[in-house]
Amino acid sequence: MERFVTETGPARPATQDWLDELRAEGVLTTAQWRVAGERLRASVPWRQTADRLLGVTGASLVLTGIVYFFAYNWRAMPPLAKFAVIDLAIVLAVVVALRRGLDDLIARLCALSAAVLVGVFLGVLGQVYQSGASAWLLFAAWAALITPWAVLVRFAPLWALWLGVADLALVLYMSDRWPALPHSAPFLVLGAWHAFALLVRERAAANDRAMAGETWLRQAILAVLLGALMVPALVFVAPERTVYVWDDLGFLAWVAACGLAWWWFLGRSPDLFSLCQVALSVCFVLLYTIGFHILPKSDFGMLFVFALIVVATFSGAAFVLRGAMRTMLARGGSVE
């Protein structure tokens, strides 16, 4: 296994695992290890952790309970009462959010709940006044209505909800309006949409420290982007049917997305987890291509060769990723 020296060791977070290693190798005596462990535990933000866990769990349970309550009584309620209840819940959530200030976690969770309730309101509206409108319109309206909140609150889970709703609207629109399109086309459009979302997120993170800290949103957007573009790429490299121009375009888009993501997340905005996603995507497409072309035409001995190829591919990915990690650490970055 390739080993190398970390250059930012002392700047990494102290953990009990690290203290255990120091004790096991005799750097600390048992008494020193014990005192160090107590100091480490004293530094733990227990109250903050308990506050978050209790707040999020409690609010989630209460909200779920309210949803259950209305689900149980739903049929018996007149339409006006249904709208009144949902509107009241939205107003209540918004008032609590505004009173607590939008930097507070509970306030942000209230804003998120209000955004979810907007979707419930639209769903009920469609149920009560059935107009035969397409489903994509509901999701498009939902995304449009919560856009100002998402911009105002700057809360990553709210943006994730917004993007998920917009994705649904886009996918439903395509299946409704363009049913004759080849299978790859919706994936290509979804990939392009997520590429745009990723660009916007990176731009926003450059100006907003709170958003910059929420790397999971970027990683989630990239996962959908690569996953969507991999579908036409796989059709292109291992064709079982007619290859359309969408598949060619999809393959090129996948190559471009991998290349650009690698360049961006290695040098401009270092993120090893995102690089890992790119590497996994490349490994998958590469192995699928090789497997598709050699396995069906060979005897069972080729299975052994393919196992070697699998190991070689993932070893190569790990080797390259460790090189990237070394570069990040050398520049003083963090990879934890």
């Binding site: 296994m1 390739e2 190398f4 020296v5 970390t6 060791g9 002392p10 990494r12 977070p13 102290a14 953990t15 009990q16 695992d17 203290l19 255990d20 290693e21 120091l22 004790r23 096991a24 190798e25 750097v27 600390l28 020193q32 005192v35 160090a36 100091r39 535990r41 530094s43 733990v44 933000p45 227990w46 109250r47 952790t49 506050d51 209790l54 707040g55 769990t57 409690g58 609010a59 349970l61 209460v62 309970g65 309550f69 689900a71 149980y72 090893l272 987890f273 996994l280 490994c283 299975l303 393919f306 196992a307 190991v311 993932f314 070893s315 990723l321 460790r322 990690m325 990879v335 934890e336």
Partner: protein
């Protein structure tokens, strides 16, 4: 979270270590091998797993599905890996060795079970192989995956015998013992992969127990483990000071499931040890097991809704009491 340097500075400032000790720790850190964060290791393990499956199919076709052939080939693969000790011979060889280990263990397990016609004997034999492999082959991936095979066979044996579901609690006790051994008491870095593997096994077990067996033995087990963990965190604290935490744990055990207690315990363990994957897994288990618990309650939707509102409200009140008791204290 406090950095390593800040902790060393604090220890030097209060006289726990001297300047030489501080420098020794920094030097150790600079020399320390670092294989990367967990997801890089997960990528390697995933690749090895995929390769092992192809390897397994190849050997199965080669041996003509004969059980003794499986045992012989499995033993040869494992012996080759252990004797060659390829952990320091480059990434490709190390990953190939991991794939061969997984494949060899799967073959031995299948061969043992076929030859003895008994899942329990197969589980026992693979447990012995796993212990030997753990001792002889110091690779975190192998050490994480090896104990999962006898565990899976033991589960299969339990469900193969009708009415033996209570044995799940015994397996839970054993796995809990592994977690305690790896993450509490004197430092045992070599046992960490076993502990992580046992955490995964416990989540699977508690899921099965929630569905197939009486829950109280595992609830008692988990509550006792959490009480012991609380006491271990605050050594020397009088019993009276521990009592509120124990009462809270007992109340939680009376109202929830072993999986919920596992989630809470894992979050606490992750926070104490500075282990983020544990915190993430704990939160995930908490969400999954809580949702499942409320889903499984044999009550009407109306009663469920009141229970949910009451329990959520109780947590929020408890949070407010905590904040009011010591406002501004975040450490």
């Amino acid at each position: 979270m406090i950095t390593r340097l800040a902790l060393l500075d604090a220890l030097e400032a209060d006289g726990t270590i001297d300047a030489a000790g501080r420098q020794a720790a920094i030097d150790h850190d600079a020399r320390a091998v670092y294989d990367g964060p967990w997801y890089l290791k997960a990528l390697s393990v995933f690749g090895a797993w995929v390769a092992a499956l192809f390897l397994l199919v190849w050997v199965m076709l080669l041996t003509g599905y004969k059980s003794y052939g499986f045992v012989i080939w499995g033993a040869i693969l494992l012996a080759a890996v252990v004797l060659a000790r390829p952990a320091r011979r480059g990434l490709f060889v190390a990953q190939m060795a991991l794939a061969a280990c997984v494949c060899g263990q799967l073959m031995l397990a299948y061969g043992f079970c076929e030859m003895s016609r008994s899942l329990i004997q197969g589980a026992a034999a693979t447990a012995v192989v796993a212990v030997a492999l753990y001792a002889q082959y110091p690779d975190a991936g192998v050490r994480f995956l090896s104990p999962l095979l006898p565990f899976s066979l033991a589960l299969a044996a339990v469900f193969d015998n009708r009415g033996a579901e209570s044995a799940l609690h015994f397996i839970a006790a054993v796995e809990l013992g592994f977690v305690a051994l790896a993450f509490t008491g004197p430092p045992r870095p070599a046992l960490r992969p076993l502990g992580a593997s046992a955490v995964l096994a416990l989540a699977v077990l508690f899921g099965l127990i929630q569905h197939h067996a009486a829950q109280w033995p595992s609830l008692v087990l988990m509550a006792a483990a959490l009480c012991w963990f609380c006491a271990a965190l605050t050594p020397g604290r009088p019993l009276a000071a521990q009592l509120p935490a124990w009462v809270a744990i007992a109340a939680l055990a009376a109202l929830s499931t072993p999986g919920v207690l596992l989630g809470i315990g894992l979050v606490a363990l992750g926070v104490v040890r500075g282990n983020r994957p544990f915190i993430a897994c704990g939160c995930l288990f908490l969400v999954l097991f809580l949702s499942w618990f409320y889903y499984q309650l044999e009550l009407t939707l109306a009663v469920k809704s009141w229970i949910l509102i009451a329990s959520g409200g109780a947590l929020l009140v408890f949070r407010s009491v905590l904040l009011a008791a010591r406002p501004g204290d975040t450490a």
